[in-house]
Symmetry: C2
Subunit: 314 residues, 2 copies
């Protein structure tokens, strides 16, 4: 009997997998390496995702799995379908006999926060994207254009603003900020323009997203420059949401490292969405659980009452 579903959050930093029964009881979980095929290549993503799935399944028979649903960013690029094909083949070798589906990570992030048919989702991890869900489907999204061209208000964007603020403080074109010393400490470099530039360009651009927590900490300690970055990140995120012309009263799921936990960016966003659109903000709990929910709701139009709550609460 095929009584299990597997939800996968194949993220740029790590992969998370959740195995659940058809009524939403969580039977297994695992973490794995980076699973995004666009950022890390299909072979590396395949390795992370398949290893994590097998680990989460534990001793259960792979033949029991009715569906695997993988949530991934950049699904419209060539990496998505290539990962799906490779994953079907790899899992078949392990004894899986079920469909393997890919869905946009924001659809799963939404489902990880709510089972409401209509609503909105704002994801700000390394990148940033706003999406609209109707009748359970992601119908539209804004931004998510990647570090070079967009993702305004996401972790990379915040980190980049932090380095810009540090350089402006160092060349006198901007205000002094505690970020100068904090960046120098974090990167173990001298607080000089040359050292900052050398270190910033020495790594792939996306590593700047590692500075986002410094900005939050400096904001919490009252640094006005950091506070302006926090405010402009929240402004950029609400701008993406505004482009979706949100309908009042709908849920808004907040997902990604920048918008979860004790986040000043989220606090600002919540203020704005409440005042402008009366949206009901909800934290995303678990994108892998959201992926499992999408798998379940595709198999059964109306899963048993309490299924969603069981999935995301555990």
């Amino acid at each position: 009997m095929r009584d299990l579903v597997v939800g996968v959050d194949a993220g740029g930093t790590r992969t998370r997998v959740l195995v659940a029964s058809r009524r939403g009881d969580v039977l297994g979980r695992s973490d794995g390496g980076p699973g995004n095929p666009t950022a890390h290549g299909v072979p590396a993503a395949l390795e992370s995702v398949s290893t994590a799935i097998v680990k989460a399944l534990g001793d259960a028979d792979p033949g029991r799995v009715a569906r695997v649903l993988v949530a991934v960013a950049g699904i419209s690029g060539p990496g998505g379908p290539a990962l799906a094909d490779a994953l079907i083949e790899r899992l078949a070798g392990y004894g899986f006999r079920c469909p393997v589906q890919l869905r946009a990570d924001i659809a799963a992030a939404y489902a990880g926060g709510t089972d409401a048919d209509e609503g909105y989702v704002l994801v700000a991890g390394t990148g940033a994207v706003a999406g609209e869900v109707k009748a359970g489907e992601l119908t539209r999204f804004v931004d998510g254009n990647g570090w070079l061209l967009g993702d305004d208000g996401g972790g990379f964007w915040i980190g980049r603003q932090a380095v810009r603020a540090v350089l402006a403080a160092l060349d006198g074109s901007g205000e002094p900020t505690a970020l100068v010393d904090q960046l120098a400490r974090a990167w173990a470099i001298a607080p000089s323009r040359d050292a900052v530039l050398a270190a910033a360009y020495a790594e792939p651009p996306v590593h700047l997203s590692g500075l986002a927590p410094l900005v939050v900490a400096a904001h919490d300690h009252g640094d006005p420059v950091a506070s302006r970055i926090v405010a402009s990140a929240a402004e950029a995120l609400t701008r993406a949401l505004a482009a979706l012309a949100p309908r009042p009263g709908r849920p808004l799921v907040l997902a990604g490292g920048v918008l979860t936990g004790d986040s000043p960016v989220a606090a600002r966003v919540v203020e704005v969405v409440d005042a402008r659109w009366s949206l009901a903000p909800l934290p995303a709990r678990d994108t892998a659980a959201g992926a499992a929910w999408l798998a379940l709701s595709q198999m059964t139009p109306t899963p048993p009452a309490g299924t969603h709550a069981r999935l995301i609460d555990t």
Copy 2:
């Protein structure tokens, strides 16, 4: 007798060399491949620069050269000194017996526009930087922080804004713009979000600077989105200049592809610098000639009258 100087503009796109007499008569010129050691690596830059120098010198005896001065961006990085060392060795092999010096490209760009002891220079090519010259020396500069972190208002920055505007038009978060079709034509792709993202990320980021001329053309044809990009580029460039707190009445040399020729960005900048600081804008003529002038003025505190004019006018 060592009666010649060699000025080199080792740029990111090409290398230009000028050979002059001590009184500023131009005796030879040449063009070569990319000469920036940071962007292209020391071996490639060495090849471009040394080949172009030998070509410009023609039949003249290398022993006649009193000084070689190479203007290069990113001089404070490790690429600069490494290029100088390699070049000394390579040129010695060709029979040169003279100092080889490196100077910041903006110092040479300034000298290619004026021999005034004090003034300002604004360079916007692929990158962007503002500099202050006092007593013939570059004393301070603002920005020039590269494509990832700054160069606001430069060619890459303009191209990036163009792609952002195209994506915003396509996802409905921004206004329609003629740039959508022009970008699609220039890149030979469909005018869709997926195609634009795939093409934009397929090449090294700096290739976006190739779109700057499209923005200027769309502005000239009255596209309001392109005009806003032109205006914000000019605003970013004047902001860098403002951070130098310019002293009224000094010359301002405008250099680089974005600010020379029939440039709407330059027209805006000229309006602002005239109104705010009464600066006297001058076009940069020739950075290689500026490099030769720096070489000459180091050898002779007061070169013969008319030397600078002879160098830059020919």
